[in-house]
């Protein structure tokens, strides 16, 4: 592929470095000791021409233009492992890697698959390229009818931010409907934005499209302002991360929680509804953006343990040390590219761990995961009997309908 590079201006390394110092907690970049922890723990670090630590040394050596010419930073799945282990607490994921991807996007050094997802987000408000009008089609047939705020304009207690994959992806609609069932069973007064909802934009932000993220945030902000609600819950940790940590800086601030936190608070009401036993060993996979990035580890486990018959098993990589499924930071839209380079998928690694831990079920709490882990399980003979389920699906199964 022929790439035309646009010169970044005098001393690109200096300009970029200065911009890094300006991100949140950016002054920590000065404290990098070049200890190598980040590059070491990065799941694809061994494949990158410039893993995180090396990008910093390239900046200091003023050869950042070399970094921009390689495409290996697209192996980064924004899993936060580097940020979590950095002794100087440098904002590596959100600051360095994201900003580097921004630079690559600006010169057009971006794999075609990712391009499509970004273009789709811009056009249709969802990365899948589906018609925005069909965003609430998953609600058809559900009784009681799901409250789409644009139609009913009723004030609600809870606004449920559903998300792209949860709305459109056939595999995930099952989990979305399961969550709707639970909310209805608990008598929660909730509503969704439906066709007015746009992508939270967080993965697009981490894939280098800051401008696109802000555009989505603005659109969502305009819509949210129209309705009355007490708090927001999200199906997915990425939306949770965006609404909690990024939107406030853009002037959009609401109390927000992931659905597992919301439900865990209501365990007393949920327990009596769980009439069926699920006799299984369940391994819970901590999603990067719920666990490592936002410190939510216990609530999802509490939900699983409330189901009778369930034996929770822990995998060696757990909690803050969890293994990324490979979907973040644009990873969902870089599968072909990453496969060409690695010939291994991060999701395979995780599935093997689940099997080795004797789990019958791999429980997840992020919409990226069911399709990724199910695909991985298909390719691993020992995983043929491993089931992958969203926590919402397991709860509904235990509810017995």
């Amino acid at each position: 592929m022929a790439i035309t590079l646009v010169p970044l201006g005098p001393s690109p390394s200096k300009t970029f470095y200065t911009s890094l110092l300006e991100v949140k907690e950016g002054e920590r970049f000065r404290a990098c000791l070049q200890c190598g922890m980040c590059s070491g723990i990065c799941p694809f670090g061994y494949l990158m021409a410039f893993p995180p630590g090396k990008i910093i040394s390239a900046l200091r050596a003023e050869i950042f233009d070399e970094v921009v010419k390689t495409d290996s930073v697209w192996m980064c799945v924004s899993c936060y492992a580097c940020t979590a282990v950095c002794p100087a607490r440098i904002p590596l994921t959100a600051g360095l890697l994201t900003r580097t991807k921004e630079e690559l996007l600006l010169v057009g050094n971006v794999p075609a698959e990712l391009q499509t997802a970004l273009a789709n987000t811009q056009r249709y408000g969802n990365c899948l390229g589906e018609s925005p009008r069909k965003r609430a089609d998953w609600t058809m047939g559900i009784q009681p009818e799901i409250n789409v705020l644009g139609k009913t304009r009723r004030p609600v207690d809870v606004l449920w931010f559903v998300g792209d994959y949860a709305s459109y992806h056939p595999r995930l609609q099952a989990a979305t409907k399961a969550l709707a069932k639970i909310l209805n069973a608990l008598g929660i007064n909730f509503g969704i934005l439906g066709p007015e909802e746009n992508s939270d934009g967080d993965s697009q932000r981490l894939a280098g499209e800051r401008g696109l993220f802000e555009a989505m945030a603005q659109k969502n902000a305009q819509v949210l302002r129209r309705y009355q609600f007490g708090e927001i819950i999200t199906t997915d940790p990425h939306a949770y991360n965006a609404l909690k940590n990024e939107y406030p800086a853009l002037g959009v601030s609401y109390p927000v929680r992931h659905y597992t936190q919301f439900l865990a608070e209501r365990l007393d009401q949920i327990k009596p509804l769980l009439k069926k036993e699920i006799k299984a060993k369940i391994a819970y996979h901590d999603p990067c953006y719920l666990g490592r990035a936002n410190g939510v580890f216990d609530e999802p486990r509490a939900l699983l343990e409330s189901i009778s018959g369930v034996e929770l098993v822990e995998m060696p990589h757990q909690r803050a040390n969890s293994l990324c499924c490979g979907g973040g930071g644009g990873g969902m839209w870089l599968d072909g590219f990453q496969w060409e380079k690695a010939h291994v998928r991060l999701s395979d690694w995780r599935v093997r761990e689940a099997v080795a831990s004797n789990a019958d079920v791999l429980a997840v709490a992020c919409p990226y995961e069911p399709p990724r882990f199910e695909d991985a399980a298909k390719n691993i003979p020992s995983a043929s009997r491993l089931k992958v389920r969203e926590i919402s699906e397991l709860l509904v199964e235990a509810m017995g309908n």
Binding site: E113, P170, D335, G336, E340, D375, K378
Partner: protein, 321 residues
């Protein structure tokens, strides 16, 4: 204006294209209704032999070295004079790399109405066009003037435009072609050495729904298990995931296998043009409204990424057991 219907015959390297016969069938339907004749217009060099099976009442033939191969300016100059002299009811062109290059220019230069993407013509002077990827049909009446029409396949079978009686050929004069604006330098063939999918009885075709180059592996495995070959629609070839020799469709190959398994293919007309005459088409597409289901005999909306590996497994069991 006469009531004759003219058909501009398309040919490449000594072969008359199927669309020419389709157009003759359409022309016959219109001509019969309005009481006119079907005239085939053949331009070429020593190409009279190509007229032998054209189902037309007569052939107007122009022979000139400048017409030996198609170039749009030489064809337009010749046809402009002919249309001006004969003033037929309608002139049919293929909606192809040949016909679509010349119909528009003639419409502009001669101030004649133009209808494009036409599928059928009827004896009462009605036309039906297909647009928007085959999702919408537009119907109307031919205007009261010599009308230029580009035709797409699908409305008639080629056999309907073929005849065992060679029509009478009249040679027409051509203008000279001094200083042409367009010169054909050469034809470039696709790389040889790959499979000729047009000869395969069992084809497994992948479209946009395959999502990435890597997933094509599952189609390869199915093809290997079944003893078939993999081919593709345009988006897959454009991305470079398969070579052009595997392209099925308007700009690729025309295939008529026993079984055509369409995986993640929407069924846009340009693709259907290349495979619509397969004996049995089986379509896999998660969109129940995909046009491919209109030409397929069997179909399913399950995800091809789930289905295909399972299909391969079952087939291996059947063959192994």
């Amino acid at each position: 204006m006469s009531q004759d219907v003219f058909v501009v015959i398309e040919h490449l390297r000594g072969q008359v294209a199927d669309i020419s016969y389709v157009m003759l069938a359409a022309a016959r339907q219109l001509a019969q209704g309005i009481g006119g004749n079907v005239t085939a217009v053949l331009l070429g060099r020593s190409a009279q032999g190509l007229a032998k099976d054209l189902a037309s009442d007569r052939v107007l033939y122009a022979d000139h070295s400048a017409l030996a191969e198609f170039t749009s300016d030489a064809y337009q100059i010749t046809l402009a004079k002919l249309i001006g002299d004969e003033s037929p009811r309608a002139v049919l062109f293929g909606h192809t790399t040949i016909g679509a290059d010349i119909a528009g220019g003639l419409s502009a230069r001669l101030s004649l109405p133009l209808i494009s993407s036409c599928r059928t013509l009827s004896g009462d002077g009605k036309f039906v066009c297909q647009i928007c990827g085959g999702k919408i049909m537009a119907e109307g009446d031919l205007p009261d003037a010599t009308t230029l029409i580009t035709m797409v396949p699908g409305g008639y079978k080629a056999e309907q435009g073929q005849s065992t009686q060679p029509p009478a050929i009249t040679t027409i004069e051509t203008k000279s072609f001094d200083d042409p604006c367009i010169t054909l330098k050469q034809y470039i063939e696709p790389e040889a050495g790959d499979v000729d999918i047009a000869k395969e009885p069992l084809l497994i075709s992948v479209g946009r729904g395959i999502q990435n180059k890597d997933n094509i592996e599952i189609a390869n495995e199915l093809a290997a298990a079944m003893g078939g070959q993999v081919c593709a629609s345009r988006p897959v070839v454009d991305q470079g995931w398969l070579p052009t020799t595997r392209l099925v469709g308007k700009s690729g190959k025309r295939v008529k296998p026993k079984v055509y398994l369409a995986l993640g293919i929407s069924g846009a007309p340009e693709h259907v043009e290349g495979m619509g005459e397969s004996d049995t088409i089986i379509a896999v597409n998660t969109d129940p409204n995909a046009p491919i289901f209109n030409v397929a005999k069997y179909g399913t909306t399950v995800d091809l990424l789930d289905l295909v590996p399972q299909l391969t497994e079952k087939i291996k069991q059947v063959k192994g057991g």
